[in-house]
Amino acid sequence: MNEGIITAIRVVPLEHYVILSFLLFSIGIAGVVFRRNTIIILMCLELMFNSVNLLLTAFSAYHSDPRAQVFVFFIMLVAAAEVTVGLAIPGDDEAQRG
């Protein structure tokens, strides 16, 4: 099974991953500007972070270097912290008081 998976890197060219992550990143941007509800905006932010994670993982696999995956790990960490803070900030008072 794992040979099959390992071969994926050789089969799936790197451009695809780059294009995919750019696409997700653009959707994230559109989402952030598109929606007014803070929750949705935060979710789109998460989406942007994830697209970068994907890109980094692809590069790490491509360069077969674990450091990028550690970086992704830290990104997840930061993203978590940000979401909690984001939700806590009383930005949209009407939503909460409503």
């Binding site: 890109l55 450091r67 970086f71 900030i89 009383p90 930005g91």
Partner: protein, 487 residues
């Protein structure tokens, strides 16, 4: 490195202190801790070794900036004593968050790995998101905090994309290898590298509030409590610029990115100065003035050479000292004027607190860059750099700089020295309040002003890296600064 650890621990200690009702011990402990960190920093002053697994490198550059950051925080803590006098709860948290943010700043000044850059920015910003939302009574500060958070994380998204792309093309996060890779011909041609650089610079210049990313600046500065605004405009800006400079110091940026930087600088200078003319709200005025000064500092980035780090350091220090002083004066004037932050409240200051007014005027002159003040020398050296870099594009914004310089004079100065209107907003209340405060705080401000002036009259050579910047008189000024506070 030890300073980093010490300050984080200090933060936790302050949190614990917060439990009991010994609120009055918070600031002194904080200051002592910071001074201890400072001494530890000084003792291994010339130890050039990268301390920790290639992630942080405490070279002269980092040392100098760390010292400046710590001293500025000490300054703000002193300011905080009075500022938080009235507030009851979660004062300890405010101090702690500031220290944590300082930790982020220290990382930024000495990173050698892009991950540390990212983490540094995040650690620097997250506490600020919260601090900005500190003033819970006013709706504005919440909204400002949210706006700041939103744009902050949005920008770090781009930063991450940039770092990822750089990693993609150079297969490493280490700053030195990346800088080398950019220089090589392969790096130049490689599109991914170009995009990576672009997005990283976008991410960092958001923190520095260059033009297309400056939108958060005025609203957040206005919304946040004055102390946080002071913190943001001095410590955060210095740390961000240190990080930015460290990132692209030895990088031979490809032509395309260079032009992008030029365009950003021109827009920042132009917009910062022009819009500031119209501001009547003091903090928004300071925001736009800080944008204008960002424009100035970016000029340095255009003509980077081995000497320019000294100029960057000198400019940032003089700017920060002057800004802190002004914010202190603002708080005094604001409290006397019952919370009104319009620049009208400065009118008649001369009548009620002459020395304070003179100090303010000196600070304003330094910000505007009028001769015989440190500000002038800083601007002069930036100019000299600009000219040496034979940059044609600069005529445009040199003019706008002039306007910027005068904006402060135009708004700040006549207001405060206007004898006729002594009896307006500031009125009786200010007189006894000012006199009461004058002894404790005023001379602090005066000290800052004196520092600024003293520095100005003896312009220092711009040669060498920040380390030999440090031993020139401007630091004696800030030390002078500490003395009156130790009441």
């Amino acid at each position: 490195m030890s300073a980093l650890i010490l300050i984080s621990v200090l933060g936790v200690v302050l949190l614990y202190l917060g439990f009991g009702d010994n609120r009055k011990w918070l600031a002194p402990v904080g200051i002592l801790g910071l001074l201890a960190a400072l001494t530890m920093l000084l003792c291994n002053w010339n130890v050039e070794s990268p301390l920790f697994a290639g992630m942080l490198k405490f070279d002269g550059y980092a040392m100098a900036f760390d010292m400046s950051l710590i001293l500025l925080t000490v300054l703000l803590f002193l300011f905080g004593i009075d500022y938080y006098a009235r507030m009851r709860e979660n004062v300890a948290e405010q101090y702690a968050l500031m220290l944590f943010s300082l930790v982020g700043g220290l990382m930024l000044t000495s990173f050698t790995n892009l991950l540390v850059l990212f983490l540094g920015i995040e650690i620097l910003s997250i506490p600020l998101f919260i601090l900005a939302g500190g003033k819970r009574d006013s709706f504005r500060s919440g909204e400002a905090a949210f706006k700041y958070f939103l744009q902050g994380s949005f920008a770090s998204g781009f930063l991450l994309l940039g770092i990822a792309l750089i990693y993609g093309s150079t297969a490493s996060f280490d700053l030195a290898t990346v800088q080398a890779a950019v220089g090589t011909s392969a790096g130049q041609g490689n599109m991914l590298m170009l995009l990576g650089l672009f997005f990283t610079i976008v991410g960092v210049s958001f923190k520095v509030a260059a033009v297309p990313f400056h939108f958060w600046n005025p609203d957040v500065y206005e919304g946040a409590p004055t102390l946080v605004t002071a913190f943001m405009s001095t410590v955060v800006k210095t740390a961000a610029f240190a990080g930015f400079y460290r990132l692209i110091e030895y990088m031979h940026l490809p032509g395309a990115v260079q032009t992008m930087l030029v365009v950003v600088t021109v827009c920042t200078l132009f917009l910062g100065n022009i819009v500031a003319l119209r501001q009547t709200q003091f903090k928004r005025l300071m925001a736009y003035s800080s944008i204008a000064h960002t424009g100035f500092l970016l000029i340095i980035f255009l003509g980077i050479s081995e000497r320019t780090s000294g100029v960057l350091y000198y400019y940032l220090t003089t700017y920060s000292i002057a800004t802190v002083g002004l914010f202190v004066v603002l708080t005094l004037a604001k409290r006397a004027a019952k919370g009104d932050e319009n620049i009208r409240i400065f009118r008649g200051l001369f009548r009620s607190a002459p020395w304070l007014a003179i100090a303010t005027m000196l600070l304003l002159l330094s910000l505007a860059g009028i001769p015989l003040t440190a500000g002038f020398v800083a601007k002069y050296r930036v100019f000299a750099l600009g000219i040496e870099a034979k940059l044609r594009g600069r005529h445009g914004f040199r003019g706008s700089d002039g306007a910027g310089g005068h904006l402060l004079l135009r708004h700040g100065d006549p207001g405060s020295l206007h004898p006729q209107r002594a009896r307006t907003a500031i009125g009786g209340g200010a007189r006894e309040l000012a006199r009461a405060l004058i002894l404790r705080r005023g001379c602090g401000v005066a000290g800052a002003a004196a520092g600024v002036v003293e520095v100005g009259s003896t312009p220092s050579p711009s040669a060498g890296s920040p380390t030999d910047e440090v031993d020139q008189p401007c630091f004696s000024a800030s030390l002078l600064f500490l003395y009156p506070y130790a009441k």
